[in-house]
């Protein structure tokens, strides 16, 4: 059986792998019953219930991410465990607040990211023991004015996985890896295998840590700094009227709140402990065994944010017949989140912007007064998740049948109440309930033929998957509750007399989407003496999200592997030398359900500030989708055409393993908004036919650099990736598209910034650049649009030399996603000591510094009601050197400090030490030897110790999905923990 072979290899390799790890399941020699272990090994192999789903064998030393360090670091989400740990995966952790959403990109950006919904649509699928987890749809963004956060708890759904319960994680990215998974995994996949039940000696493990965060070193300032910064602009450019308009809080140096000590950080950066306590139990007999794991995790960041996670996991294996294995695994997780007290996030939730004339002041006393306003407010964020599956595997001679039923249900609840002090004397209440659910049934059948001499092997197989997704939310927000104590209901005074019965002004919302995917595949696999393997797989997928006539798609995947080492002499240095290639087409899913029904009518009578207004004269209004764009009659499958060519190289008995893969993914037939004349009333029309190419190299190196049984051991696990994306096609043979503040040009990257090029300042009228020579030989001064330039304006390059600076002169520049990224994990052991550290880097990308732009553009941001510019208490710190910027006239109608210019485009390369952990295993010391512990590790870990970056304004990782740095995220804090791991 081919699968068996893979399983066997996997098990063998994992045995090798685990024994090489300091924090694996322990040294077999130390087990008290070696014989029993050997006896049960066969059975445990049988139970290797989830295996790499690919059509080609993969060396696990290449495919598996190093988790040892991550399990000794206070991390809570899958994204964090995987950051810097796999070639081809870039993890974007844009906020240090525990439990916030994080995003992953497998092999580049396959679709331009205009919105959060786009971001969700390019996320890789995550499989836990073969069960696909439900994916976030971004459905609720339809009713949101701002997309900073999703409504509801908005907890990262992948923060439910406890790293101590995970055996290994593999990144699936090549066509061969993904062939059996199909459209679900068109953006790549993460294949998570939790620790398995095992028969054998009953084993306990206890894991724990406790630690603290370190305050970041920041330079706080008060209004005196602000005054020094702003007044020169007033002196240079302001009219008398404008001088009179100088903000009072900056001007009044007698105001102790603004001119006093800027010690807000003492309150804001208060460190509370992070901790973890987990307990695991493995046991059972040869025919039935189980694993049980329970854990409590507490994560924390500044501004009183935190996340508590309670997770229970239970797995069983049963072998009722010799040929039948039944496995099951259930995980129940509850999280609770304490969220930040940002003004911006609160205003986005309440949709209500109070008076912002005076910002929160920098003094601790006045900041405390502000925090006191939160007394009596509520912000409860809970999620309940259930992930589970049951599978039966039948092995009847050469025939193997497998059936798996899995369910992922994730619900989120949020209750918010803000009282009068926070809400300018009114009050706000909201309640959210929503869930995402994914149910999957999967059946596979395989049959293997072998020639008599076993030189030829043929396997045929087929599989069917039926998957249903459901996503729903109910949300109500209201204002003006009876008072700060009676938050919801009216109260009955007497008889039928109610007070405040109708005073709550509430808006209810509800929405749901359902979708279903039905997949069928058939595969034919031929192997000759394990030298050449060729696999062909055909898929037939049907998805409910497309027009009825176009919903089925037939796609092939071909893969082959050439094991050269089989032809070489066994004595040579090459233990592995293989060439691999795979090519295939994968349909891509669209979660947005509007495309399936063609041109349509929906509620569209709201406007930017009131997007949810749905009626006129109290009647529900229907119209065509003017704001969302014209929907075409039919939409078919977008698809991803993937090519992967790679080598696997192992020398000296795989002491050094190198995997190099070249990939070229062409994502085609994607939907993009194409402009329509505004006179049609429609913003855009949603047309299919955009194509994006992502190409690059993924390299993975694992090396036992030093290997001394009693001396120093050093294992290096390094990965390096390059990523180049190009827009290759637009519908209607268009060469470019503009969409809000982004531009797409064929042949250019899709993650580029679109900016004016800064070319100095106009200090005197003579500096105003002149336009092209006209027919009569004269030249006119360059204009900004139709506006004449004046002293104090910025000079932007007139790229097309038409004498007018406008959007035509903006250029695409830089990348918002790293071009080169990777990680270096080092594991050093010396006797009982263990040192592990991970370096993580991203290079070649840039960020657009909105923080600096908004501070320089203080005239326009000061009185703006746009909550993007609300001043938090964190405003009171020095984040840039204003002497390095030209002194433009901030009152100019050209908006010289606009964000979309390369003045604010900065290099965002970084190299970070993600964690450094030092441990000592006491189990082998004389002191504890008698206790028969297989592991007694005590360790200390420091995380996020340093960041090397040319960016001066903060942490370049904290940019949003379009590469904009707002400086509003909580830091990815430096932390120190002490922990212990016991196995017995």
């Amino acid at each position: 059986m081919r699968f068996r072979i893979i399983q066997l290899i996997c098990v063998l390799f994992s045995g090798l792998w685990v024994s090489g790890q300091a924090w694996g399941q322990g040294d077999p020699e130390a087990e008290d019953s070696l014989v029993k272990v050997v006896n049960t090994r066969r059975f445990n192999q049988e139970l290797q219930r989830t295996h790499h789903p690919g059509t080609l064998e993969v060396n696990p030393r290449i495919s598996r991410a190093p988790l040892a360090g991550a399990s000794a670091t206070p991390m809570i989400s899958l994204q964090q465990y995987m950051k810097g740990a796999a070639a081809g995966l870039f993890v974007k952790e844009d906020n240090g607040e525990p439990g916030t959403e994080q995003f992953m990109f497998v092999r580049g950006v396959t679709h331009p990211v205009f919105s959060k919904q786009d971001l969700y649509s390019i996320q890789p699928a995550v499989f836990v023991n073969g069960a696909p987890l439900a994916q976030e749809t971004g459905l609720s963004y339809n009713i949101q004015r701002f997309d900073f956060n999703r409504i509801g708890p908005a907890t990262n759904p992948l923060s439910i996985l406890d790293v101590n319960n995970i055996a290994h994680i593999e990144l699936l990215s090549s066509p061969a890896d993904l062939a059996r998974l199909g459209p679900l995994a068109a953006n790549g996949a993460l294949w998570v295998t939790t620790k398995n039940a095992q028969s054998g000696v009953r084993q306990f493990n206890v894991d724990t840590y406790v630690g603290l965060l370190q305050r970041p070193a920041i330079k706080t300032v008060n209004a005196a700094y602000e005054n020094n910064f702003r007044w020169p602009f007033y002196e240079k450019y302001a009219s008398d009227d404008q001088k009179l308009d100088y903000p009072v809080y900056v001007a009044n140096s007698y105001d102790p709140d603004y001119y006093g000590a800027a010690n807000w950080k003492d309150l804001y950066y208060q460190a509370k402990p992070v901790y973890y306590l987990g307990f695991g139990l493995v046991g059972g007999s040869e025919r039935a065994n189980f694993r049980f794991n329970i854990s409590d995790t507490r994560s924390h960041n500044f501004d009183a944010t935190g996340l508590d996670r309670y997770a229970v996991s239970f797995g069983i294996n049963m072998l009722p017949m010799k040929w039948l294995t039944i496995t099951g695994n259930m995980n129940a997780i509850r999280t609770q989140r304490e969220r930040n007290r940002n003004l911006r996030d609160r205003f986005a939730e309440t949709r209500f912007v109070p008076d912002l004339t005076n910002p929160v002041s920098p003094g601790a006393a006045s900041y405390q007064r502000f925090l006191d306003k939160y007394r009596g407010s509520e912000d409860r964020n809970k999620t309940n998740s259930f992930v589970g599956y049951f599978a039966a595997v039948a092995q009847l001679g050469q025939l193997s049948l497998k059936s798996q039923l899995s369910l992922d249900y994730e619900e989120g609840l949020r209750d918010v109440f803000y009282g009068k002090p926070l809400m300018d004397n009114t009050s706000f209440i909201s309640s959210y309930f929503g869930f995402n659910q994914r149910a999957t049934i999967r059946n596979t059948i395989d049959y293997q033929f072998k020639s008599d001499d076993e030189r030829h092997q043929v396997t045929i197989g087929a599989g069917h998957t039926f998957l249903t997704d459901q996503s729903k939310y109910d949300y109500v927000l209201g204002y003006n509750t009876p008072n700060d104590f009676i938050k919801i209901k009216e109260i009955r005074l007497s008889g039928s007399v109610y007070q405040n019965a109708y005073d709550i002004f509430a808006y209810p919302f509800t929405d749901k989407i359902k979708s279903a995917l039905s997949s069928l595949y058939a595969t034919l696999d031929y192997s000759f003496r394990n030298v050449v393997t060729v696999n062909a797989l055909g898929r037939y997928d049907g998805y409910s999200g497309f027009s009825k006539t176009n919903r089925w798609l037939l796609t092939p995947v071909f893969s082959s592997k050439f094991n050269i080492q089989e032809l070489l002499q066994k004595s040579g240095p090459f233990s592995t030398l293989a060439l691999k290639a795979s090519w295939g087409i994968f349909g891509k899913l669209i979660t947005d359900n509007r495309f399936r029904i063609g041109p349509q009518y929906r509620v569209d009578v709201g406007y930017s500030d009131e997007p949810v207004l749905g009626s006129y004269a109290g009647l529900a209004a229907l119209s065509q989708t003017y704001s969302a764009g014209w929907i075409m009659n039919t939409y078919g499958w977008p698809y991803s055409q993937k090519l992967d060519i790679g080598t696997e190289l192992g020398i000296w008995k795989d002491r050094l393993v190198l995997g190099v893969n070249y990939y070229n993914n062409e994502d085609k037939n994607m939907i993009v908004p194409v402009s329509l004349p505004t006179e049609s009333g429609f913003t855009y029309k949603q047309v299919q036919g955009m194509a994006v190419r992502n190409a690059g190299l993924n390299m993975h190196l694992t090396a036992d650099i030093l290997k001394h049984r009693k001396g120093l051991n050093w294992v290096l696990d390094a990965n390096f990736s390059t990523s180049h994306n190009t827009l290759t096609r637009l519908p209607y043979q268009l060469q470019e598209i503009e969409y809000s503040d982004r531009k797409l040009v064929v042949g250019q990257p899709v993650d580029a910034f679109w900016v004016y090029q800064n070319d100095g300042i106009i200090n005197q009228p003579g500096d105003i650049p002149m336009g092209p020579v006209l027919e009569d030989g004269s030249r006119n001064p360059v204009k900004f649009g139709t506006l004449e330039l004046g002293v104090g304006d910025a000079i932007w390059k007139d790229v097309n030399n038409d004498g007018v600076i406008n959007a035509r002169d903006k250029v695409l520049k830089g990348h918002s996603m790293p071009v080169y990224y990777g990680g270096l994990d080092n594991n050093l052991t010396f006797r009982n000591f263990n040192l592990d550290f991970l370096l993580f880097y991203g290079l070649g990308h840039r960020l657009l510094n909105q923080l600096t732009a908004s501070k320089l553009d203080f005239i326009n941001t000061e009185n703006s009601r746009n909550i993007t510019y609300v001043k938090e208490v964190t405003f009171w710190q020095q984040t840039f050197d204003y002497n390095r910027y030209p002194v433009y006239n901030p009152w100019s109608g050209t908006i010289p400090y606009r964000l979309d210019q390369d003045l604010f485009l900065e290099r965002a390369d970084f190299l970070k030490l993600r964690y450094l952990t030092l441990g000592y295993d006491f189990s082998k010391t004389g002191l504890l030897k008698s206790m028969k512990l297989s592991k007694a590790l005590l360790y200390v870990t420091a995380s996020n110790l340093f960041t090397l970056t040319p960016f001066k304004g903060g942490d370049p990782e904290l940019t949003d999905y379009q590469g904009i740095y707002s400086g509003r995220s909580l830091p990815i804090a430096r932390s120190y923990i002490i922990g212990a791991k016991l196995n017995f």
Partner: protein
Amino acid sequence: MGFYLLVLTACNKKLDIESSAASPRTAMWQTYDDAKAGLVGIYGLTRAALAENNAHWMYGELRKGDFTSATKGGYLDAIIGNDLNKSYPEILQLTNWRRFYAAIDGCNTFIENAEKCKADLRYSALNCKVDIAQAHLLRAFNYFYISRIWGDVPLIVNATKDGNTLQVARTPQKQVLSFCVSEIRNYMDSLPTEFGGSDKSKLGFNGNYYGENWNVWGNAFWGYYQCVALLAEIYAWMGDYQNAYNYSYKFAVELGKTRTKFIETSEVTSLLAGTRSVFYSNGIPNNGSYCYQVLAFPYRMANRESGPSGVGHLESLTLANPYVARNRPDLYITRDTISQMFYSVNDARNPYQFEFKNYGTVYFTNYYNAIPVFSKFRNMEYTNSPFTIFGSCIPIARFEGIYLIRAEAQYVLGNYNDAWAVLNEIRKRRGLNPWLVSGSKPEDMRQLLVDIFLERRRELVGEGNRWYDQVRFNKIMRTDPAFNELIDRGGIYWPVAQEVMDKNPLIEQNPYWK
């Protein structure tokens, strides 16, 4: 394999999942409810176009108007100063006419499809006729509105078909306006004088309209007299004062059928300004039998049809303490300007209340502050809390304004005595003494015109008319050279957004803004 084929066909059915948030085009225009939702949709789209960025006031009130921006610099200052080429994001959005064309396309779609709903027997032929006439009227209104803003605008009378990129050049304003006029005149007889009440037209369209009576609707749906009022406005803008006179006169003499009336002197403090003024919700104060909003886009407050941003209501720009928790409003009228507007202490709207020998709250609150709060519009949903839910409509026209068009028309037509009489009719109702300057030469009568427009300025302040009034005034007067230049060079129109021209190369920038 057969098993799998079976599974496959079963699955295909399982893939038929309905969308809950939208209904396909093929399912629309079949029932009474589709017609209702579609009709409401075109009103809603028009209101959205006027509400986005408080556009109605940005276009109609601010330019060279009475309001001052509390912040120096910024888009409000730029609009007030007529610097419409500054690149503030709000101005860039205001120069884009897409939302109006969404409403127009909605009207076109309704006109082309509403007949199909008659398949539903609940949708009577008469109801359908009335609804289609409303769509014609609303389309004409939209064209009138945008041609006042941009001058020549593309005239499109067919619905967008299958997302085709049809490009149309700008149609001369004259042609657009005469289209508006002929449309309204063609369809006004297909409209009842009121909805959900006793129709006084020949149609006899009585009884509840879409399930409710007139006391619920007010003038939320536009009928025969909305046509009359709109025709008076359009003809005045076109300079066809004979017709402007005819229709404004018609409105006044048939006032009994219009279910509107003047706000009387005693009602000024409660109805013209106040927390439940004539601008609140459906415009029928105190559940009475008069709707004072002749042309308006109301927000129906009984259904909580208003949001916490306040945008789409003038209050969001003009209110501050003590009404909402805001130190100063975005817009206010300086005391200097106030004293130019109100010179008579007898004026019921004058902040100085003669009766009490003190400054009271009518149009203004905190008159003696550096920034008096313009509180003519203060329809707070909660009068006891500073919560920013406002109930004011987007006002287009009231009877007082229509009445004054008659005075303006009579002035141009040379019937000065009637012009005086009409003006004094209004003055009387605001506590002002009637006055008259005798003479028959136009030069002598200039003061009459000044006074007519001064009365408009006082009465209609904050209702989004000031700019258009200035244009009409200066077109008649032609004494202000700077303004004459604006009129002659097309500076009275707004520039067109670059985005509009990029998406349709046939559109050219207004010459003044080139």
